[in-house]
């Protein structure tokens, strides 16, 4: 799998594709993500059957998601970047394709407040929270997040140094 | 730097073996001397007690209760040391010489601990359970013959008494499991009932085969039957499998590994006695060790000729044999992993019960042909 094959398969759904030392890197839009993932998962030339990793970061202007997927049969790595606006951070969930990414999606919601459309717990913030307490307020990895000590060490943000 | 890294297994020194042997010999010597002490000085007292049956029974009961409590002290120390030896460590070392008083210290600690009763527990049941467990194990000691004379009460139906009484401790276990209002306790209690009831069946059948061969239900009677030859040697084809089944069943009856499912620490925290603390917990503990000693003693009575033996006093022989069986049980406990509940049940009903049925048939044939 390399950038050429991906361009051939995905066509205009790709924003950019390049071969990097340890992976092939592509950039897609949030709207296309699910169709791209479904395609790459089932296409015999890519066969991305292994759930790798999802993470995201807030640059202050937008939120950039980073997906890493592997193919066990072909032995290649694909990384995907998806950029979404900060005030409407919504991407389709891919946990139906790779159930292992379920918890990574939950973690991304937990830390950055990204809504994963199609995730089984998407409408239930308490079940969606994974590392932080269920009643935590705010998303700590957002750049505008200000930790406020709530007074109760069990609920909400705590005093930080 | 290498000195610390290269320190390999420490070989057991000859001095340690010598010390162990000399201590054993000393203990046996002291025990042998006990019957030769001037007991006749107590004659006025004993004859006074003997005149009143009620008083006599009370004195017997007091002796048995004290013995059960005291043997636990030694037994627990022994178990800890044995475990330490098997696990390449030293065991308790700080309280008393070689940690001999560690159990005493633990007992004192348990006595001083707060007695916690969970808020929503079924209080009467919760309070009653430790005694329901402890009393049956105490009662069984009444018929255990240490020698022909040292028997609390020589019942003619001793074997039946033992079986019926020891089974009632299940009630206590279930009371503890239910009364604690704890899901782990409940699961442990349910497991305990399934296990104890199932393993009672082959145990009864095996004991019955011994009874059939001996022609008596009195435990002293069974021992005197073996005067010429111990049961295990007299009918080896019958009694060796019988002993193995008996051993497995008693391991299950006293909840020891590999049958410690009711209190499986890694699954159920502590099983049916999770919520118990202080003295109530000590009662469960005491009952467990008393049961253990009793099962070993019963095995000796049934298969290894009880107190019979040459040279040493009868009580010493009995204790030595019992200790051997106890060591066997400890060996098993500290070596084997735990069974799963379905494996344990299927082992009982698919292997042990048919085997003991076959044994009882064989015993009947052997008994007739005698």
């Amino acid at each position: 799998m390399n950038a050429e094959i991906l361009t051939e398969i995905l066509g205009d759904r790709l924003i950019s594709a390049e071969d990097q030392p340890f992976s092939t890197h592509i950039v897609v839009t949030a709207d296309n993500l699910l169709s791209v993932c479904t395609e790459l998962h089932s296409n015999p030339r890519t066969q991305l059957d292994y759930a790798g990793d999802i993470t995201a970061r807030d640059t202050g202007k937008e939120i950039i998601l980073w997906y890493r997927l592997e193919s066990m049969t072909i032995g290649t790595t694909l990384t995907i970047n998806v950029t979404v606006p900060r005030d409407e951070a919504v991407v389709p969930s891919v946990q139906a394709i790779w159930p292992g990414l379920n918890w990574f999606e939950r973690e991304c919601y937990d830390m950055l407040g990204i809504r994963f459309e199609g995730h089984p717990d998407v409408d239930n913030p308490e079940l969606m929270r994974i590392l932080l307490p269920e009643d935590w307020e705010g998303f700590p990895f957002r750049k505008d997040y200000v930790p406020v000590f709530s007074g109760n060490p069990l609920h909400g943000p705590q005093e930080t140094n | 730097m290498t000195s610390g890294i290269l320190r390999s297994r420490r070989p057991i020194r000859a001095a340690e073996v010598g010390l162990g042997i000399s201590i054993t010999v000393a203990i046996i010597a002291i025990a042998s001397a006990i019957p030769h002490l001037p007991w006749q000085l107590l004659k006025p007292l004993t004859s006074f007690v003997a005149r009143y049956p009620l008083l006599n029974a009370l004195a017997n009961a007091a002796m048995v209760a004290n013995f059960v409590a005291l043997q636990c002290l030694g037994f627990i120390w022994l178990e800890r040391k044995f475990a330490g030896w098997m696990q390449a460590r030293v065991g308790p070392m700080h309280v008393g010489w070689k940690g001999l008083l560690q159990t005493v210290a633990d007992a004192v600690k348990l006595l001083l601990k707060e007695d916690i009763v969970p808020t929503d527990a079924d209080k009467p049941l919760f309070a009653l359970a430790p005694y329901l467990v402890f009393v049956p194990s105490l009662l069984t000691f009444m018929v255990l013959p240490f020698t022909s004379a040292w028997v609390g009460y020589d019942l003619p139906l001793g074997a039946l008494f033992v079986l019926s009484i020891s089974t009632t401790s299940i009630l206590g276990v279930f009371a503890a499991g239910w009364g604690s209002n704890n899901k782990y306790s409940l699961l442990g209690g349910v497991r305990a009932i399934a296990q104890l009831l199932s393993y009672d069946v082959p145990l009864i059948l095996v004991m019955l085969s011994v009874v059939m061969l001996s022609g008596t239900m009195s435990l002293t009677g069974i021992v005197t039957q073996q005067e010429k030859l111990w049961n295990i040697a007299a009918h080896p084809l019958l009694m060796i499998p019988a002993f193995l089944i008996f051993l497995i069943c008693t391991l299950a009856e006293v909840n020891r590994a590999p049958f410690d499912l009711p209190e499986a620490e890694s699954e159920l925290v502590s099983g049916f006695h999770t919520e118990y603390s202080g003295m109530r917990f000590a009662f469960f503990f005491l009952a467990e060790f008393a049961n253990n000693f009793f099962s070993a003693g019963l095995a000796v009575t049934l298969f290894f000729g009880g107190w019979l033996g040459a040279g040493l006093p009868a009580a010493v022989w009995f204790t030595l044999k019992t200790l051997c069986v106890i060591f066997l049980m400890m060996w098993i406990r500290w070596t084997l992993p735990r069974l799963r509940i379905d494996q344990m049940m299927s082992f009982c009903w698919k292997v042990l019960v048919p085997a003991s049925m076959a044994l009882i048939c064989a015993a009947a044939i052997a008994g007739v042909s005698h």
Binding site: P21, F22, S23, D49, Y50, A51, G52, D53, T55, R57, T59, W66, R68, M72, W98, P99, G100, L101, N102, W103, M111, I130, L131, L132, P133, P140, F141 | M1, T2, G4, I5, L6, R7, M86, Q87, A88, R89, D122, K183, Y184, L187, R191, A257, P258, L261, A264, E265, S266, E267, V269, W334, T335, L336, P337, R338, L339, R340, I341, D342, Q343
Partner: protein, 371 residues
């Protein structure tokens, strides 16, 4: 007395396994729905050990992130050090000298042995064989002694640096290491006789918690969990880092996918690690152990990720640089986190005793799950 709920005419009991439970190896809470002894459903609740390490990374310079990785997988912290250092090196275009790479591999494998010994000890205890615990920890003790004389710490090593390692091997290390490996192989044989062949032990593990290769891939399982289910996936072979491509070793793969397979993979991995260590000692070249590093390390803007094979599976770090001395974002993809996510799919239908067997066979470290 117990909260019972009728679901589909079935009376089930909800039991909290944890957060304080002897067998969850940390503060993991499993919300388990029980029908008698059978599990109906399970929901792992994690986060009790969450320290916000990823957030803390953003406030530290690149070098200062290393000690935090010690606190993730505390059973094999050197592998964590290596993983983040690799991410930093890839971001900054650094390359550690050859000798440093050999020493890194050597220490990682030593750490893998220590970690697998902890697994052996705790797993045997979970199954009820308490004695194995002490035997395994006796060997681990020697291993930790070696690590201590190398790195100065017994558990949280903080040893690997971006661009190399801070210190060379001390005197007498090779000798001690060889003695330890001899002892270890003997102890493993002893363990095979005591535990692996035990019928009760096999009966408890065989056919329990089966993971198919497809499921392992779809759930992102890695390390012994993947290799126990027939997925021949070892980062040391598929994407070799450091000098693993120059070393000869086998990747044990078992196809049954049950707890026994995962156990056997780990036991065999210890032997392979011993083999790798011996090769490292033999092949190690003399020379530098640290490459040239600027005083204030500012990698160019970009993103990089590292993939390493930690004892638990694939440990990778994703790192983003915005050109400042502090990383803009660090994310650790920790294998325990992924493996715990498999539990809701693995547990329904098994007995409560199997929960412990399955959970133990995943060999999770909660410090790594919660980060």
């Amino acid at each position: 007395m117990v909260n019972t709920a009728t679901t589909e005419q079935r009376h089930t009991v909800e039991v909290n396994l944890g957060p304080q439970h002897p067998s969850t190896h940390g503060v993991l809470r499993l919300l388990v729905e029980l029908d008698g002894e059978i599990i109906v459903s399970c929901r792992p609740v994690i986060g009790y050990l969450h320290r916000g390490l990823e957030k803390m990374f953003e406030k530290r310079s690149y070098k200062q992130t290393i000690p935090f990785t010690d606190r993730m997988d505390y059973c094999a912290s050197l592998n964590g050090n290596l993983a983040i250092c690799q991410a930093i090196e890839r971001l900054g275009g650094l390359q550690a000298p050859e000798r440093a790479q050999y020493i890194r591999v050597l220490l990682c494998e030593l750490n893998r042995i220590a970690s697998h010994l902890v697994f052996l000890a705790t797993y045997a205890t979970d199954i009820g064989a308490t004695t194995v615990f002490l035997y395994a920890f006796r060997e681990r003790e020697k291993c930790l002694d070696l690590m201590e004389c190398m790195t100065g710490a017994r558990l949280t090593y903080n040893y690997v640096r971006p661009g190399g390692i801070p210190q060379d091997l001390p005197d007498g290390f090779e000798n001690g290491l060889n003695c330890f490996l001899d002892d270890l192989l003997k102890a493993l044989e002893e363990n095979d006789r005591l535990l692996t062949g035990n019928r009760i032990f096999r009966g408890r593990l065989e056919g329990v918690g089966v993971v198919s290769p497809e499921m392992a891939a779809a759930y992102g399982a890695s390390g012994p969990v993947a290799r126990g289910s027939g997925l021949n996936y070892d980062v040391r072979k598929t994407a070799p880092y450091e000098v693993y491509d120059r070393l000869e070793f086998d990747v044990p793969v078992y196809h049954t996918g049950d707890c026994m397979a995962r156990y056997l993979v780990r036991i065999e991995e210890m032997r392979q690690s011993a083999r790798i260590i011996r090769q490292c000692l033999k092949d190690m070249p003399a020379g530098e152990i640290m490459c040239k590093m600027p005083k204030i390390f500012k990698p160019p803007i970009g993103q990089a990720f590292s993939r390493t094979e930690s004892p638990r599976g694939e440990l990778s770090f994703y790192m983003v640089s915005d050109g400042t001395p502090n990383p803009a974002r660090v994310h650790g993809r920790t294998p325990s986190f992924v493996h715990l996510g498999m539990l809701p799919a693995m547990l329904p239908g098994v007995k409560i005793a199997d929960v412990i067997a399955i959970l133990g066979s995943l060999d999770t470290v909660l410090g790594e799950v919660d980060r």
